[in-house]
């Protein structure tokens, strides 16, 4: 029992690594005495033997039997010698004795290290093994997919942040563009109104200044200073009145003409005047024609100025769009490069 105890202690330290060849037993089936001692083993290539393998020859002795129970407790194995495999067949092998303690005999045990790779290479894998291999491959594929998923997930936050930033930039751009369009539409609408008023309304002005009757009691004054068109809205400071009406009576609009407020004129000490088409026609048709020509020239100049202004604004907007699209392309390329590196 001391022996058993010690062995069990030592067995704990044994590591069954499996890195070494498994030891298996076969038998000596023939012994040849020609020249060197040669033995024929009952095992070959398909049994895991290989050329040059060392084989330990043992001879079994009388069994160790328990004196009370007759149970066989062990079998002595007398070392016979050591042989080296020289000739190899599928199920047979020839080995030459390289060390002998006694003469080998038929029936002696031959212990060798089995090489499983050769057997695996020559024998087809059983169905169970094929299933296991298939399952292992499936698991490997699953692992690869899992690794890819993990990689994508790990890169997702950065990528998502970049996309989110891009979306924010685009949103800001769209908002700015929308505001700009609204502003342009408003401006365009105002310009149209002004032109309509200029064309259909009355005007007053000299040189580079034009006053348009915009509404019932408001004048719209257009001033050209270089390339700048200045528009000012001025409520009436004088009242229109019909000729012959008292100074305090407010005169309504008439199609015949515009009447200046006589009270205002009186205060300034200037004579009142009126502009009457009928009167003008009566006085001189050339003046009337000249006036119309002058108005046409002014309106044409205004249209040119407004057209230039509109082109200038729209040109700036196009450049802004092109710059933004270029920046967007560069950002996309940067994101793709960074994603590719990861």
């Amino acid at each position: 029992m001391l022996y058993r105890y010690s062995i069990s202690i030592a067995l704990v330290a044994i590591t069954f690594s499996g890195a070494h060849a498994e030891r298996v037993l076969t038998r000596v089936i023939d012994v040849e005495q020609s020249g060197a001692h040669e033995v024929v083993l009952d095992a070959g290539r398909l049994d895991g033997l290989r050329e040059g393998a060392r084989v330990t020859l043992l001879r079994e002795g009388e069994a160790i039997v328990h004196p009370l129970t007759d149970e066989i407790l062990g079998i002595p194995q007398e070392p016979v010698g050591l042989a080296e495999v020289k000739g190899l067949q599928d199920r047979r092998a020839r080995a030459i004795m390289v060390k002998s303690y006694s003469r080998p005999q038929v029936g002696d045990l031959a212990e060798y290290g089995k090489v499983p790779m050769e057997a695996a290479a020559t024998q087809p894998a059983p169905a169970e093994m094929a299933k296991v291999i298939k399952r292992v491959k499936t698991l490997e594929a699953g692992m690869q997919e899992y690794k890819k998923t993990q990689k994508s997930l790990s890169a997702y936050p950065v990528f998502a942040q970049q996309v989110w930033d891009e979306m924010g930039t685009i949103k800001s751009y769209l908002v700015a563009l929308d505001e700009r369009l609204i502003e342009l539409e408003t401006q365009q609408h105002e310009d149209r109104n002004r032109l309509t008023a200029m064309i259909g309304g009355e005007y007053q002005g000299t040189g580079k200044e034009l006053t348009i009757r915009y509404s019932e009691d408001t004048d719209l004054t257009l001033r050209v200073a270089g390339k700048t068109l200045m528009i000012s809205v001025e409520p009436d400071s004088i009242r229109l009145k019909e000729a012959g009406v008292s100074e305090t009576q407010e005169m309504p609009f008439t199609e015949d003409g515009l009447y200046l407020d006589g009270e205002e004129v009186a205060e300034e000490g200037e004579e009142g005047w009126d502009i009457s088409l009928d009167g003008m026609m009566e006085e001189s048709p050339y003046i009337f024609a000249g006036s119309l020509l002058f108005i046409a020239i002014i309106v044409g100049g205004l249209l040119v100025v407004i057209k230039r202004r509109y082109d200038y604004v729209m040109g700036g907007l196009d450049e802004y769009d092109q710059d933004f699209l270029a920046d967007d392309d560069e950002d996309v390329e940067d994101v793709e490069d960074e994603y590719g590196k990861k």
Partner: protein, 230 residues
Amino acid sequence: MGTAVAGLLGVFAPSGKASVAEVEAVDEPVVVETKPIVESVAAEQKAVANTSSAVPVADMPSVDKAVDTYYPLEVGRYWVYGSEDAERGTRTEVERRIVRRESRADQELFYFSDGTIAFREDDKIFEMGPEGGVNVIPTGAEPYVYRSEGLHIEKQIGNPDTLMIVGQQRYSHCVQVVTRFRPVDQPEQEMRAYASYYARGIGLVGRELWPPSPGSAPTQTLRDYGPRKM
């Protein structure tokens, strides 16, 4: 039987009726560290020369047949072994004792208190445990190889004259028996070994892993023994 582990600290108190003279016992039980020293005869002589004034090692008188062997088998003889499990922190002492002798036509069987049966055959001693294991102790020069319980076991006499010091006890002229074993299907690289030391007229006095590593301690040491338990 087993052994149990008792640790390497212990008191060795040999029986006063021990009939062997080659072992000296310390008068007073002293707790000391058990440290085996296995040396050759020359080294032993040197050690004896150095310590002869304090602990002289006596020669080995042949008392009788049982005492003159390395594994005395007689009814009443007992051995107390101690061992220690450093990992679990336990120390164990176990007694082995021969309680019965049965003479047959071809052999004499000795029964131990733990159920083990031992007998001599040729130049070997066979120990057979109640659980089926068999231990073969060769006393001759020839190695003995056998298979038992799925193990390939090789027994061989190592150093035939060894000085074994266990604590304050010195056992001279011990026989070292080296046991090498492995599972039958495992290669030679998986072979493990331990060495047992048998003192003439006493029996097993210690066991250690073989080859010993620096600083290693024996797995079992003899704490007490005698021809008959008082």
